[in-house]
Symmetry: C2
Subunit: 424 residues, 2 copies
């Protein structure tokens, strides 16, 4: 039955049946978590050789004693790993600590407060400062802006990436827009890979935008393919073509490759941006943890090792995505109650309910012991204007747990949808 | 001969002899480094068991899988290690990444830009913002202020710590003074341990200072004794007595205990300050490297292990300090050309030349291949008004290298002093 074509009586009967099923789930006392994009213990164990991998040899390839202070931008071999990950030149890479979010926060802070290319370039010399945020997007990007007092303007995602007509129009009209967040491959949460044309248009934005505009290119899922490597057009090459190398800062990390909490973070940037960033960094640290960089490089010495390692992750993750997609297909295909994409990588499935249903569905799931990211979290300020988007993160539960969680999820969305229809 | 009592002819003859000796050193083509307070390779090797110490067991005491994301303020056992190090309650401790300088930078940034106790408490709402800097002091403290646009006022160090009469008078007169840097034990570079009375007076400063005043208590050398443990009065207890718990933020790390570049940093603070700090932190990281915290705690499971470990460091460092002090004694006792203290711990010997001699002596040493921290570096803005202070860091060279370096140092200070006298 397609609920949108049901009579009020049919809807009421459906509500009764779905409610009964919901109560049955509630009585099971489940405790399942689909909230965050974390690797499972099984995935983490793929990298357990890290402990002890140095065999007492703490020397980097260039003779650096990694145990001591120093080296603001990381070991040469760690730069090469970051370069392989992001598809850039090692000379453009700065290696940070355990968190690419920290590097992104610092980069926005520097551009805003200190200026990436001298004090005159600090965004804070003008007010307001605005960012473009493709939605749905990554909540922690939005939190960075919120804490720094940067206003966020949303742009819808399309199957090719952000709606570039809209992006270009906004930038042309408003020179106070100083930045844009992008997760170009397996976008969080939609799973979209930006098309070649989108990448090229993003590389040209500096010609449209006001001075000091920067794209924050969070390539978090660069090698996180589920079904074989999928290429993303090189933003660096595109910027080279358009003479806009200063306009993009790229980020990645090994957090979802090795151990999530003790990975190695990378930034790739133009010489001017690197110089500005390092001037900031030199006041706040004597250098990153080089021992952990060396460990990571010993585990993943080259691109082949990296790719083989990611295939093992895919072997664990792909069945989980299949469960989610199968449940959505079985529950919603042809019903009009939901829309979703089948991502070929990353950590999420993004699901859009009917308007005004998402938060009720998430609340119902919580009653039944299935935790979902709060509805709205994928939008700036936590406000999804349509109350539609729910981010499903299937990596942590076991396969049987995930089957159960998705059964609950489908029932909750159906129930919340029907209740909404009855209320309208 | 006491050069200050020499005739011009005697001085000229002395200059000739010292110059010849200097040229002899220059011809040796030395390359020795007395600049930074880094552990030597021998010291670093004391902690080489860190690699592999987990034996594949990545679980913390409370069952936390340290490999994954999460845990903004650190593992419970790491908090206990930080508490033992700083002599505070584990509940007051936040565990950071590999750098206490980063925690200090972040704390100053939060207090300045965001407010440690709400937006209204942000120092930046008023201008100017000033800090008290005991001198000579730690150059990286001064760099933090300089980058954040905080004006620095100097206060002289005494054998009991900062000149507290002056500190109190300045604070009473100027409510724009929002902070003060302190290295309370084996102060960088003087080696002074703050007296009990000084610690007590510092804990009372909040009653004299304007709103939002904070002491940045960098307890970097808390257990870095050369000749047995020397107690520092507890600033926390003193603040408790005076009702000023919010006015002090304490910092420490294992950087000069385990591996300098991959240590674990700690902050101890009141509940209000911790809450404000964590609100900032939550936007810029998903958490610190907990695996490294676990490794560090496995190496140093309790206070006894920590103290035994530090005795091994002392066994390596103490002979180096003896060489420096013997050379200074032999070269300068009774000459009036220099003043110094014999520190009982820390990483430095602070040496004061006659006025206007330090930078010339450092330049001469550089000619002879002995690198010293630039004269002036121990003062805000790199400006030592007397051009007197030189920081000697003896930890890295071997014992024979250090003997040679000190012979060069003594000759350079003598030569620069005599030339200065001849010019006057």
């Amino acid at each position: 039955m397609h609920p949108e074509h049901a009579t009020p009586e049919q809807l009421a009967a459906l509500e009764t049946r779905l409610s009964a099923q919901h109560q049955a789930f509630v009585r099971q006392g489940l405790a399942l978590d689909l909230t965050r994009g974390k690797p499972s213990a099984e995935q983490l164990s793929l990298s357990d050789a890290l402990d002890g991998i140095l065999g007492g040899d703490y020397r980097a390839g260039d003779g650096t004693d990694t145990r001591n202070y120093g080296g603001l931008d990381g070991l040469p071999e760690a730069k090469r790993l970051g370069a392989a990950l992001m598809g850039v030149d090692p000379g453009s890479v700065l290696v940070g600590g355990n968190s690419s979010l920290t590097l992104m926060y610092q980069a926005v802070l520097v551009a805003h407060r200190f200026g990436l290319t001298g004090a005159d370039s600090a965004w804070s010399r003008e007010a307001p400062v605005r960012f473009l945020c493709p939605v749905p997007g990554y909540d922690r990007h939005f939190t960075v802006c919120e804490q720094l007092g940067i206003e966020m303007l949303t742009v819808d995602m399309t199957p090719d990436g952000p709606d570039m007509d809209r992006v270009e129009a906004l930038l042309a009209a408003d020179p106070s827009i100083k930045g844009m967040w992008c997760v170009p491959k397996y976008s969080n949460p939609t799973g979209v890979v930006y098309s070649d044309a989108t990448v090229d248009r993003i590389a040209r934005l500096a010609h449209v935008a006001g001075p000091g505009f920067r794209v924050f290119w969070d390539n978090a899922y660069a090698v996180h393919d589920l079904h074989g490597f999928q290429a993303l057009a090189s933003i660096g090459d595109a910027c080279e073509r358009h003479g806009t190398a200063d306009s993009v800062l790229q980020f990645a990390s090994t957090s979802k490759i090795t151990h999530a909490g003790s990975g190695v973070a990378f930034m790739s940037a133009s010489p001017a941006n690197l110089a500005g960033f390092k001037a900031f960094l030199s006041a706040s640290t004597i250098g990153p943890d080089k021992v952990n960089q060396l460990r990571t490089v010993r585990l993943l010495p080259d691109a082949e090792a990296l790719m083989a390692h990611m295939q093992r992750h895919a072997g664990i993750l792909a069945p989980r995505f299949e469960i989610v997609l199968r449940a959505l297909e079985a529950g919603f295909a042809g019903t009009g109650l939901g829309q979703w994409e089948a991502p070929a990588g990353g950590y999420f499935v993004s699901f859009d309910t009917l308007p005004g249903v998402a938060s009720a569905a998430v609340a119902l799931a919580a009653q039944a012991g299935v935790r979902l990211t709060p509805a709205g979290a994928t939008f700036p300020y936590g406000r999804d204007p349509g109350d539609r988007n729910i981010r499903i993160a299937p990596s942590v539960p076991s396969l049987p747990e995930l089957e159960t969680a998705m059964a609950v999820f489908v029932n909750c969305v159906e129930l919340a949808s029907v209740r909404r229809m009855l209320a309208d």
